[in-house]
């Protein structure tokens, strides 16, 4: 009797402990792999013998959330600065070191660690117990017998910004935007509209022209002021360094997503499950895999470099002055006349705003009930109405609410009209004269205050057909 009780007790305790132990063991976060990648055959995903597949390449270039990798091609501020050792003097267990900043590098104000890149201590991470950014003098601890020589290259606080960005992102952003920025965190399914999936490299609310990506400034703006009318809140009270770090990390995630997309694009036509199935009618699987192995080994490295260059170019350009939209004329003063002119343009056949936004701006134009076709697959969507590039239902804005997601300043509305809303069906009207755009802006800003919908009449003077001509505007 007693013995089986004792056994029960032991089993019970063992059971409890095992749950606790298995539940308590390390749990690492991981970047998700996109559905498109999963549509490739397994060999394309993982690789063939020595040649790495998509997943391996992603890991090589970007790492996993615990160990991020910095692909130097990418225009990301990893943080820290590269430096060379000038003087090294051991001081008991510590060492006094003087660093010289690398070419074009500036020392960070604060630093806590050093990654040794070349020399006897290569690969080590040493702690800085003191750091003087002005002179580059520091005291290193945790040497464990390692020595540095003059001329050794190091990275001071290397990756500090991106690491800090990751930590902040996981705390504040990942539950909606997902660990990989795929817009599919645990909370995402409950939100409407859904959180942004960065992996297309497309962001809606930008101040850059329609061909450019989002600038750092735009991302900071979204973080600071939120997106009104959605669950993207304002993080106004975060410190500037924190916001900057998050922006860098979001850009990093976006670049990773784009890299994945572009790489899969190269492989999908020949090596997706669908494609291989139809090929199997004529070819042997082993041959296809052999072909893939050759492709991966010989051509893909070049493809990867090419994608890297593309990313570099597009993301650097987004922050340049050339990309920014600057109206050629100041805003036309808001007046009855201007609003009427704006309404006229709104209703005009060339601009055709009413087709989507409705005749009175209520967001109920004919397009909102039509069955749109997916532009890539040519298959009609299940629900009527307009969709965005992420395949979510994304209906035109009801202009009566006075809620403008990308901001309510006149320049914000100007940018929405000029560049359109990237990723959505709001097209770019960059060929419209800027003065006309201002008229429309004035009209749109006045819509919430109309005595009744549609009360704004058209302009009293007949409109000059200037809207047809493509007026060259400065700053495009």
């Amino acid at each position: 009797m007693k013995s089986h009780v004792a056994w029960l007790k032991r089993a019970g305790i063992a059971g409890l402990l095992s749950i606790v132990v298995s539940g308590c063991s390390d749990n690492n976060s991981s970047f998700s792999i996109s559905d498109r990648t999963r549509s490739l055959i397994p060999e394309a995903q993982t690789g063939v013998s020595e040649a790495p597949g998509v997943v391996k390449l992603l890991d090589e270039k970007f790492g996993d959330p615990q160990t991020l990798k910095a692909w130097s091609k990418l225009p990301v501020q990893w943080g820290g600065a590269s430096a060379k050792v000038e003087v090294f003097a051991a001081d008991g267990a510590d060492a006094k070191v003087k660093f010289v900043a690398g070419e074009g590098q500036t020392f960070p104000e604060k630093a806590t660690f050093v990654n040794v890149v070349t020399g006897a201590g290569a690969g080590r991470t040493l702690q800085l117990s003191s750091w003087d950014a002005a002179t580059g003098e520091a005291v290193l601890t945790g040497l464990g017998g390692a020595t540095l020589a003059a001329g050794d290259t190091c990275s001071i606080d290397g990756g500090a910004v991106i690491q800090s960005g990751r930590v902040l992102y996981m705390r504040h952003c990942s539950h909606c935007h997902g660990t990989a920025g795929d817009g599919n965190g645990p909370t995402a399914q409950y939100l409407y509209p859904r959180p942004r999936d960065y992996r297309h490299g497309v962001f809606k609310f930008t101040s850059t022209n329609d061909m450019s990506k989002v600038s750092r400034e735009d991302l900071l703006r979204v973080l600071r002021y939120g997106i009104p009318g959605t669950y993207m809140p304002s993080f106004l009270l975060m410190k500037d360094e924190e916001l900057t770090a998050i922006v860098e990390y979001v850009r990093f995630l976006s670049m990773r997503g784009e890299f994945e997309r572009k790489l899969v694009n190269e492989l999908a036509s020949d090596y997706s499950e669908e494609a291989v199935e139809s090929r199997l009618k004529d070819e042997q699987r082993a041959d296809i895999v052999g072909e893939l192995a050759k492709f991966l080994a010989e051509d893909v490295p070049g493809v990867v470099d090419g994608i890297g260059a593309e990313l570099e170019e597009s993301w650097v350009a987004a922050d340049s002055d050339e990309a920014k939209i600057v109206p050629s004329v100041p805003r036309v003063p808001d007046s009855e006349e201007s609003r009427r002119r704006g309404r006229e343009l709104y209703l005009s056949k060339t601009l055709n705003c009413a087709d989507c936004h409705g005749i009175d701006g209520a967001g109920n134009g004919p397009q909102t009930v039509a069955f749109e076709k997916n532009p890539i697959t040519n298959v009609p969507y299940d629900e009527p109405g307009l969709h965005d590039v992420w395949d979510n239902l994304n209906q035109p804005r009801n202009l009566h609410t006075g809620i403008f997601r990308g901001g309510r300043r006149p320049i914000d509305l100007f940018c929405r009209i000029h560049a359109g809303i990237k990723g959505s069906r709001m097209p770019s009207f960059k060929n419209t004269p800027h003065e006309d755009i201002w008229h429309i802006v004035n009209y749109v800003l006045s819509i919430p205050f109309e005595p009744e919908p549609g009360a704004t009449g058209v302009a009293s003077a007949p409109a000059a057909p200037a809207t047809e001509a493509a007026a060259p505007a400065a700053g495009e």
């Binding site: 101040s207 009104p228 106004l236 009270l237 109206p327 100041p330 805003r331 006149p410 320049i411 800003l445």
Partner: protein
């Protein structure tokens, strides 16, 4: 062993007292001294109750411990005290706490009226609120009236908007209109000791007088969903001139047209 238990029951109230004594020194106490006029009244009432409660706590816990001690040190064989109670004691320990409680109730009626009863709000405040604070999931959207006009319950052209930061004048009684766009929230400014639930469908006036210019944390204090904890905002109390200057700057920013050199378009 018995004495151990009696001492056990004497020991832990002492620990509790000790923790409370060292609490203010360790910053396990109010975030700061109260920085609004009503905050002083609230803290005063708190300390009054704290004193009464501490005396009661010490008295009753000591008595309990003593009763245990008596039991622990009883001569074996001695009978328990056969008593069904004492009418006199019952009367005493009914009347005395009753008086104390009535006293606390009466003391606070004034404070309560000052904070909540519209008729007792300072005259200057009843004229017009300085801003509408609209809580929503999961941020605070602020609407100021166009400088020089009064705040209306519905948005007007020229109204100024901001998010998560409210500028109000210090040392002047100030009122805001608290609303919510979706579910219940609560406007909680700990260092001013201000709290008011935002109820859907209602516009609730909340007044306060901030004594010192500075930044005050504003957070949500009514469960409003998964982002309840994220509603981090601030109240910036400044001189009336400072607030004016801020609103002027805000108006300018709100009318930005992206053309740096050009004059800001004015709204008619």
């Amino acid at each position: 062993m018995k004495k151990f238990w009696a001492l056990f029951f004497w020991f832990w109230p002492l620990v509790a007292l000790y923790v409370c004594l060292i609490a203010p020194g360790n910053n396990w106490w109010f975030p700061s001294k109260p920085l609004s006029t009503m905050g002083h009244q609230i803290d005063g009432l708190f300390y009054l109750i704290l004193i009464i409660v501490t005396v009661t706590f010490v008295g009753t816990e000591f008595a309990l411990g003593y009763a245990l001690w008596m039991g622990a040190t009883k001569e074996p064989g001695r009978r328990a005290w056969f008593s069904h109670g004492s009418h006199k004691l019952e009367v005493v320990w009914t009347i005395v706490p009753a008086f104390v409680l009535v006293f606390i109730s009466l003391t606070q009626l004034d404070v309560l009226a000052d904070i909540r009863v519209l008729a007792r709000f300072p005259e200057s405040v009843k004229e017009a609120p300085v801003a509408e604070v609209m809580a929503r999931q999961f941020e605070w959207r602020i609407r100021y009236p166009k400088p020089g006009t009064e705040l209306m319950t519905s948005p007007q052209p020229g109204d100024l908007y901001f998010v998560n930061e409210v500028h109000v004048p210090a040392t002047v009684p100030t009122m805001i209109n608290l609303r919510t766009q979706d579910v219940q929230h609560a406007f909680f400014v700990p260092r001013l000791r201000v709290k008011q639930d935002a109820v859907p469908g209602l516009i609730i006036p909340v007044w306060f007088e901030i004594e010192e210019a500075g930044e005050y944390e504003l957070l949500c204090a009514e469960l409003c969903g998964w982002g309840h904890y994220k509603m981090k905002a601030r109240i910036i109390a400044d001189s009336p001139e400072g607030v004016s200057a801020y609103l002027t700057r805000l108006e300018r920013e709100q009318n930005e047209d992206g053309v740096q050199e050009a004059e800001t378009a004015s709204v008619k």
